[in-house]
């Protein structure tokens, strides 16, 4: 297993459990996700046949967590894709061509980076309105500037390498050089950065939903479950504990994977 270090494997295992529960949610869930067990409202873990107990409507917390992983993964995938695609596009153009285009793009990126990350996402949600689609969009857009920054410096690092100069001296077009030489070489950086940002996206979704700006009830999302739980900390602390653990473990998985991949793919970033 030369290509996989322990960290990468550990991270991948956590993520696979997540993906597995998202895909097979209907099979894994012990109860229908919106079923209200009125006789067992606020059931504690292991009461009335509910492994992790029930919430204020008597809904099974374990089943809602399992379905909630769908929302988290979807937001992560879509948001990171938006951020990575637009960010890479801007970063490559900026880094490769330089000059006026570079200055213009980077000033704008600087401005967006001057907003604290969470704040910008909240501001966008305030304008766009709550909902799953808008949450994915807002989180994705907020990720664009940092992706652009990172990809730009990755491009600048290799654009003057000899193999790029050789290609240019042989008359290769800019487009050819970008697709044949630049993009394959910055992919490792992209993968590492995407993995780390996936954790950020999961937390951001939870944050927005917690504030009531993200996924709306009754769709189960870890953040909105916590948002409901905060009113019952005294009577039903289990409502708060498990969704948060799910977020923590998922983010831990992606952060560990990202750290491991960085050590593997980009030795220069190691330490």
């Amino acid at each position: 297993m030369k290509f996989l270090n322990k960290q990468v494997i550990f991270g991948l295992v956590i993520i696979c459990v997540n993906i597995f529960s998202a895909i097979f949610a209907p099979i894994i869930a012990t109860h229908p996700v919106d079923d209200m067990d009125f006789l067992n409202i606020f059931a504690k873990p292991n009461e009335g046949g509910h492994i992790l107990g029930t919430d204020d409507y008597g809904r099974d917390i374990f089943s809602r967590l399992v379905y909630g992983s769908r929302v988290s993964l979807m937001v992560g995938i879509v948001a990171v894709s938006i951020g990575a695609l637009i960010g890479t596009f801007l970063g490559v153009i900026s880094g490769y061509f330089g000059g006026f285009v570079d200055a213009l793009i980077m000033r704008f990126v600087d401005a967006l980076l001057s907003f604290p990350y969470v704040l910008l996402a909240i501001a966008m949600m305030a304008v766009l309105g709550a909902g799953l689609f808008n949450a994915m969009l807002a989180i994705g857009i907020v990720m664009v500037p940092s992706f652009a920054r990172v990809m730009r410096s990755a491009v600048m690092n290799i654009k003057n390498e000899e193999f790029v100069l050789a290609a240019r001296s042989m008359g290769a077009s800019d487009l050819w050089i970008i697709f044949q030489h630049i993009l394959p070489n910055i992919t490792p950086v992209l993968i590492v950065y995407a993995s780390l940002n996936f954790a950020g996206a999961v937390i951001s979704e939870a944050t927005l939903s917690f504030l009531g700006l993200g996924i709306q009830p009754p769709t189960p999302s870890w953040g909105s479950m916590l948002s409901e739980a905060k009113n019952y900390l005294q009577t039903a602390p289990h409502m708060a504990i498990f969704p948060g653990l799910a977020i923590l473990i998922t983010c831990l998985g992606f952060n560990i994977l990202g750290d491991g991949l960085r050590d593997l793919l980009d030795p220069r970033l190691k330490k």
Binding site: D110, I122, I203, T207, A240, I241, L248
Partner: protein, 318 residues
């Protein structure tokens, strides 16, 4: 040095301009007629017309931006509809709570994060190193609002040691105020603690691998002397930059902490503003926080230049 400070100040101008432009454009995304949204559903038609003229909404977008820019530069962030007050006044009223919260969170992050990072680096590849690495990873993976809820459950509901919500009352003594800030600061500080611990560790590791450290060892200097005089001094220089970035994130993270702990700060003001569709308030607050963030980072850059001999050297001759 003066030239460096001047240069950094000049660099801030375009950033500020783009930030104001961004906030302006985000608010342009509000679907529907902004005047109608801003005034609320009860507004009379003639009020809307008057309001549009007041804000210049009937003019071309470029003119609107110039009007907005002028207002912002004179310190006018608009009026809040729900509080019927100047947005800037509202912000300044609540600023002390948020600043206290952010600074105490930063204090916790520094006091815990830096020593953890140093110890981990010194005992590289040991059990302690692994433990710190895992703790720091948890620190950056944990949702701060959830951590806040867990702190409330454990320290206030189960153990009854500390108050859960609200601001303390100074008439009940200093401890009442301080005790109300402990849990929120811990909750808010954990993310920065993890980040700072990770960064200190890697920065320290890098320094410990440098030739001059090996030379110091070869000269037969005592280990503690090498660590404090040679390694630590150099390792902490880049950490300063991270601290600056953290302060901005702490200000933003206060939105969440203040919601969980019901603290009447900037974050609470913003969340209330969002839910009651007080766009002027939200717009003003976003802009205010971004500007504070920019200037905090500017300060950090300047402090950094003072501390870092390399930059100081660069600007000494001119």
């Amino acid at each position: 040095m003066a030239k460096y400070i001047l240069k950094r100040f000049v660099q801030v101008i375009p950033t500020l301009f783009f930030v104001i432009l961004t906030v302006f454009l985000i608010m342009k995304l509000i679907p529907g007629d902004p005047a109608m949204v801003l005034l609320g559903p009860q507004a009379r038609a003639e009020d809307i017309v008057r309001f549009r003229q007041q804000l210049g909404l009937d003019k071309p977008i470029l003119v609107q931006f110039v009007i907005y820019l002028k207002r912002v530069l004179t310190g006018d962030l608009g009026r809040s509809l729900i509080y019927r007050q100047d947005v800037l006044t509202l912000i300044l009223e609540r600023l002390p709570t948020t600043v206290t919260l952010s600074l105490s969170a930063l204090f916790i992050a520094l006091v815990i994060g830096i020593p953890l990072g140093i110890v981990a680096a010194m005992k590289h590849n040991s059990f302690v190193d692994l433990l710190v690495t895992i703790l720091a990873l948890i620190g950056i993976s944990i949702p701060i609002f959830w951590f806040g809820m867990i702190l409330i459950i454990v320290f206030s509901l189960k153990l009854g040691w500390l108050p859960a919500v609200g601001l303390g009352d100074i008439s009940k003594g200093l401890w009442d105020v301080v005790s109300h800030f402990i849990l929120p600061s811990l909750a808010l500080g954990i993310l920065s603690t993890g980040t700072i611990a990770r960064f200190t560790r890697s920065s320290m590791l890098e320094v410990l691998n440098q030739d001059y450290i090996r030379t110091a060892y070869a000269k037969g200097l005592k280990k503690t002397l090498i660590l404090y005089r040679h390694a630590l001094k150099n390792a902490l220089i880049p950490v300063i930059t991270v601290i600056g970035l953290q302060l901005g994130n702490l200000l933003a993270g206060a939105v969440l902490t203040e919601t969980v702990f019901a603290l009447p700060g900037l974050g609470k003001l913003m969340v209330d503003g969002i839910f009651r569709r007080d766009y002027m308030l939200v717009q003003g607050e976003v802009l205010f926080t971004a500007i504070v963030y920019i200037f905090v980072n500017l300060m950090v850059d300047i402090i950094y230049a003072f501390i870092n001999p390399k930059i100081r050297q660069l600007y000494r001759s001119v």
